[in-house]
Symmetry: C2
Subunit: 397 residues, 2 copies
């Protein structure tokens, strides 16, 4: 019997304490990413809640968004319209502790909570500030996305006009960037003893993604950058098919082997070979699959149309095809085995305000640290007195 | 004169050395996020390149995707089909050094490069493994997205069928998660002396995002979760308008003040008040704006349709409206001031293979560490001999 096997290990970010002054997504998402890995995250809101306290989706009047993005945090309410409230926030941020002295915000920074002011009370403070644009101007996921070009290549082929993504992708990326920045700055402080100011613009995070994925270079170098290809996967083989029982599936052949598996699963080996020879193409080459995608789909389509989702699943899984069913969110929570079978990332959790519901944990699993189980969000302001007491922030006159 | 002001400071992740065994997006994106913050990232590919070496978009036959996602890395080619090649990779990963002994992979892990094998040579090794599903099964951004429900709420209102996002959002999030995991595990190793295995599934990263944003709870609790709302922003006010010169703009009123600014900019104060009173609503409440969005848009539309983009810009900026123009990628690189004016995140960089092009740096700015300027990708295999020499990995028989 190995005692280390069952011993409790602290979660990976145990010992970090982060004060969060946030609203909407990017800042609070950074906070929840840290909290779900064991950091102590203290969210500060005005009494009654911030501007996002009632944000939809809601259930019986309670914000499910607020309940999701604040999981595992502690909630403190302070009125920063008063001098006393401002002093308290500053003292909360700069309270002593090796892994403390960290603030994350995506709200406008004022004089009283500026990095320079905080440094006066705690010289090694770490402050992460998220803005919309690099110059501090406002921007949100929707405007950043509009400006970069993605909406013109998203959506059905032939559609006239831009199509926004609904997932606030750049917000979530920025949240993870902010979480990474805090861990990196804490590492730096452990090595050098020095704190710092970290600045991150939502628009810059989006630009970095577009740049590293080749979109920027493509737009500069190619006279005609890629167009709109519906649900097809650009540059290789990936297509949406309808099944006989009116479901949809996403089917891919990103690699030569994946494509061969698909052709074998659908018993179209001879037909596909004939197509290759007729077009003088070699479908082991992703570019050739891309060029012939319409003809390839014509061959595959009847196979999918003639089968139920259940039959498609059996045949594709048997041959190791890369595919997945389209599901609505309702279908996901009702049908997907990730929700019905034991899953360390999901548990039934009782949330103040809207009851017991399946709730997520961090997607990161560290062998050297215990996972934080799925947590509820706090009651707004429910930790105020306790946090003040613990950190010695007095309720001064 | 403060000497510290102009002194060179090492980049924030200086001293970390990460060996990357990756392909496609999630793993290599994690690598580029680390490299752009100053970590030494050594990408290992088979001679001639991995399966993604020619991935589109391309320019004159060279992959712009490969050139973007490998910026700032060192490139080593090793044939892991041979015993000697495998030994070399293992020695590269486990070579000594305080911030070394780290491997990031999103490729299938074999016996020879398993965490247990690596530990034998370096007990404090850190290994981050990205898979598709939590059980190791394959999944990619397209299948994960299809399964979660986003495609059914993305796209034009009334469209029949799912609409995929084109931005590989979950891949990029997973890359940032992996980068964060490495910094967190390095911090843990500094404190405890212990390495570890970190596992991250693309599907879990997506599930965490959906959970924290309230989509999962909404699908469980509400009989009718949200539907498809085109480019409108769910739950508040945000809409796409066409201008008189055939451009499109995304205009938002997420907060009461932003909405008031919009109403004032478009000189519709009286009309909007009349609408509120007719509908018995209060547009300071985001939910009321959402319920009346069609009528609000009807009031606003003629104003946008009658003006050029340039005139719209002047009026909206003057009133501090939250908005942005839709731009294609081509328009972004040609017109956006982030590309034309001095921007520390963008520089002209010469890339081996496709020439000089505007190239991005990390979106994170640390006051206590110097930024890594925008970097080119390496030549495939161009660092092989030098890396082997530096790390003492011999070209053994």
């Amino acid at each position: 019997m190995e005692p280390s096997g069952s011993a409790m290990k602290p979660p990976i970010l145990a010992g970090l304490r982060v004060v969060e002054l946030g609203a909407f997504i990017a800042g609070p998402f950074g906070g929840v990413a840290l909290a779900s890995l064991g950091a102590e995250v203290i969210r500060v809101d005005p009494p009654g809640g911030g501007i996002d306290i009632n944000r939809g989706p809601r259930f019986e009047g309670r914000s499910l968004y607020w309940g999701g993005i604040n999981q595992g945090k502690r909630s403190v309410t302070i009125d920063t319209q008063t001098e006393q409230g401002r002093r308290r926030v500053v003292r909360l941020i700069t309270a002593p502790g090796e892994g403390a002295g960290i603030v994350l915000t995506n709200l406008p920074v004022a004089e009283w909570n500026s990095y320079e002011e905080l440094r006066k009370l705690r010289p090694d403070v770490i402050m992460v500030v998220i803005t919309g644009q690099q110059d501090g101007a406002s921007a949100v996921d929707y405007t950043v996305n509009a400006g970069l070009g993605f909406p013109w290549i998203t959506g059905p082929e032939g559609h006239d006009g831009p199509v926004n993504h609904v997932l606030p992708a750049f917000d979530v990326m920025t949240g993870y960037c902010a979480a990474m920045a805090i861990v990196a700055a804490d590492r730096h402080r452990r090595i050098t003893g020095e704190g710092q100011l970290v600045e991150i613009a939502l628009a810059d995070v989006a630009l970095a993604a577009a740049g590293h994925l080749g979109y920027i270079a493509e737009a500069i170098l190619n006279p005609e950058p890629r167009g709109r290809n519906g649900n097809d996967v650009y540059g290789t083989f990936g297509h949406e098919f309808a099944t006989g029982d009116d479901r949809r599936v996403m089917v891919l052949g990103l690699t030569a082997r994946q494509f061969r598996n698909l052709v074998e699963a659908t018993e179209l080996v001879d037909e596909m070979a004939a197509l290759e020879s007729r077009l003088a193409l070699d479908f082991r080459d992703e570019d050739h699959r891309w060029r012939a995608r319409k003809q390839i789909c014509e061959l595959l389509e009847p196979w999918f149309n003639a089968r139920s989702l259940a039959d498609v699943q059996v045949a594709l899984d048997e041959h190791g095809v890369l595919w997945g069913p389209y599901q609505t969110f309702k279908q996901f929570v009702m049908e997907d085995k990730r929700m019905s079978e034991p899953n360390p990332m999901v548990a039934q959790v009782k949330h103040p305000g809207f009851g017991t519901v399946a709730t997520v944990a961090s997607p990161l699993r560290f062998s050297g640290a215990d996972a934080v189980p799925p947590q509820p969000a706090p009651t707004l302001g429910g930790d105020t007195d306790r946090v003040f007491r613990e950190l010695g922030v007095e309720v001064e006159p």
